[in-house]
């Protein structure tokens, strides 16, 4: 997959990054270099090899279903830029 300035703009939008349009070409070149390097992996013979979700050959330890966490609202709201009536405040997200 080749990355052009359109893809750069789209990925930047998804990641909420502000990319200066004049950096776009340089960025897409560098991203293409990275993809070319990773593309070497396509040459590996993976016939009969199951996809790997995690590099460690162990499974997830589970915890018992008990409540262990106290109410930390006051501390949490203290570090928020804005709070009111027990809620975090953010700029309005619907029209």
């Amino acid at each position: 997959m080749a990355i052009d300035s359109k893809v750069v703009a789209q990925v930047a939008h998804l990641a909420r990054l502000k990319v200066d349009p004049q950096d776009s070409d340089a960025l897409s070149n560098r991203l293409n270099d990275i993809l070319a390097m990773v593309d070497q992996l396509q040459q590996a013979d993976v016939d009969g090899v199951a996809p790997l979700a995690h590099p460690l050959d162990v499974t997830q330890p589970l915890r018992d279903d008990v409540v262990t966490e106290p109410n930390i609202r006051d501390k949490a709201l203290e570090i928020a830029p804005a709070a009111e009536d027990g809620c975090f405040l953010v700029p309005r997200v619907i029209e």
Binding site: Q10, L14, R16, P51, A53, H54, L56, V58, T59, Q60, P61, L62, R63, D64, D65, V66, V67, T68, E69, N71, I72, R73, A76, L77, A82, E84, D85, G86, C87, F88, L89, V90, P91, R92, V93, I94
Partner: protein
């Protein structure tokens, strides 16, 4: 030529664990905002999730209840998007290796026809928090109590052809998850949320473009929303237009729907396996243990009701559909000693009253034991069915147990023939014209006209006359 409707459902089922999916925060509704949000739920740096064993167990139990394959190594993935009520910037969910694989749910339609709805898969995931847009003077308030609540998302194949099938499937799913005790099933609290995918096509043609109507939180709204969307799509197509793939939001109060977002700005979620979580293993031994602990499923409960209580298929279906209703019915039948009467009362008087007052059967003012007592008095002839309704109302209003109410109000049926005979004699003596009219009528008309005398006698006895005895007496005396 008519249109063919194709419907698939995505159902979010909230698991009723004590704590959250990835943290030890308390899980309950109605708490003050953000009082049940821990460091993990707040998505603070340096925190790590630890999976709740009970959530995994409940998800697997659901899989077994729908005869699905259980994934032995299910994998959590990150679904990335930005929204203020998702503090981590991703939802931890499953994609490639969901815990529950393909399964099937059998539904029975009103016509009696049975149909299989295939389940594509069901996966475990966490819920997001809540965004509150009112009362914050142009800002949005964020409450993260719900963040991290364990859900299973059940994804059906597009196997339903109309609103009735979709709603029947939804109800069946509700019956299954409440029967196996993995979900409280309170739709008004969002315990189950339905997203409906709808498309239409001419028979034999490939699938049409579908739309998704989101967040339907009652069966009634689901039925109405489907009808509305089907009609809209057919109108658009018949006017030569095209269906746009989009998400629509239904408003039950106004019975309208609007487009929420179209495919143009659809999110690209960039899923990848969550590096913080290892695959979740489920062993053969776990599965055997779950199978052994499987509670009674709606289908076998229904079969048992038909067998043990001689209920009709229709009655058995209605009574076994919800575990709360089933338990209430069984307790009332046991206490009253008559299953058929118990079935009629639970589906009739009780259901109507609960409905009218928007109450849940679990919160019924008349307990199953009280209804059973009422049924016992009806069965042994102490009260007539008309009086029984009066006793039921009094019991509903909190005036005590049926026996006490019958005693206190003197509602015992008048079965003493002598007493009743005197009343009948009086009525005949005082209504000579009606008596003549009756005697000069043919048999068919007599049947109708006897109603007048029954009415008079019931009035005179305040409804306490034994109807069978009264009828017999009147027929004899009016000869």
């Amino acid at each position: 030529m008519s249109w063919e409707v194709v419907i698939g459902l995505e159902v979010h089922v909230q698991l009723n664990t004590a704590s959250k999916l990835f943290s030890g925060s308390k899980l309950s509704t109605g708490a003050e905002p953000n009082t049940q949000a821990s460091l993990v739920d707040l998505g603070l740096p340096g925190t790590l999730p630890v999976v709740n064993r009970e959530a995994v167990r409940k998800a697997a139990l659901f899989g077994l209840a729908i005869n699905a394959d259980i994934c032995r190594h299910s994998v959590f993935e990150r679904k990335n998007y930005f929204y203020p009520d998702l503090p981590k910037g991703y939802q931890t969910t499953q994609l490639a290796e969901p815990i529950v694989g393909a399964g099937v749910v059998e539904i029975q339609l009103e016509s009696g026809e049975k149909k299989n709805v295939r389940i594509h898969h069901a996966h475990l995931e966490e819920d997001a928090g809540k965004s509150l847009h009112e009362d914050f003077h142009g800002m949005t308030g964020i409450d993260l109590n719900r963040a991290g609540t364990p859900l299973i998302e059940v994804v059906s194949e597009p196997d339903m052809a109309n609103a009735e099938e979709a709603v029947t499937f939804a109800r069946k799913l509700h019956a299954i998850v409440t029967s196996i005790g993995i979900c409280d099933g309170d739709m008004s609290q969002g315990n189950m949320r339905f997203d409906v995918n709808i498309s239409v096509r001419k028979p034999g043609e490939p699938l049409g473009t579908r739309t998704e109507t989101k967040n339907l939180n009652s069966f009634r709204f689901m039925e109405k929303a489907i009808a509305l969307e089907v009609e809209r799509q057919i109108d658009v197509l018949e006017d030569g237009g095209e269906i746009v793939q989009e998400t629509r939001l239904y408003n039950g109060d106004t019975h309208t729907a609007r487009s929420m977002r179209s495919k143009e700005d659809a999110n690209d979620y960039r899923y990848f396996p969550c590096p913080d979580l290892l695959p979740v293993a489920i062993t053969d031994a776990d599965i055997e243990e779950l199978k052994a602990a499987m509670p009674e499923l709606p289908d076998s409960r229904k079969a048992r009701f038909i067998n043990d209580y001689q209920l009709s298929e229709y009655d058995a279906d209605l009574l076994s559909g919800s575990i709360a209703t089933a338990a209430f019915f069984e307790a009332a039948a046991k206490a009253g000693g008559d299953a058929k009467l118990a079935a009629n009362w639970v589906m009739g008087e009780l259901a109507a009253k609960l409905n009218a007052e928007e109450k849940d059967i679990a919160g019924s003012p008349v307990s199953a034991e009280q209804l059973g007592q009422l049924i016992a008095r009806l069965k042994d002839g102490t009260i007539s069915s008309k009086i029984a309704k009066q006793v039921f109302e009094a019991c509903w209003a909190g005036e005590g147990n049926p026996d006490d109410i019958i005693e206190a109000k003197g509602l015992k049926q008048m079965s003493d023939t002598g007493e009743l005979e005197k009343i009948v004699d009086d009525i005949i003596a005082n209504n000579a014209a009606q008596v003549d009219d009756y005697r000069n009528s043919d048999d068919a008309k007599k049947k109708k006209k006897i109603g007048f005398f029954v009415g008079q006698a019931m009035k005179a006895t305040q409804g306490k006359a034994n109807p069978q005895q009264l009828n017999k007496l009147l027929q004899e005396k009016l000869q």
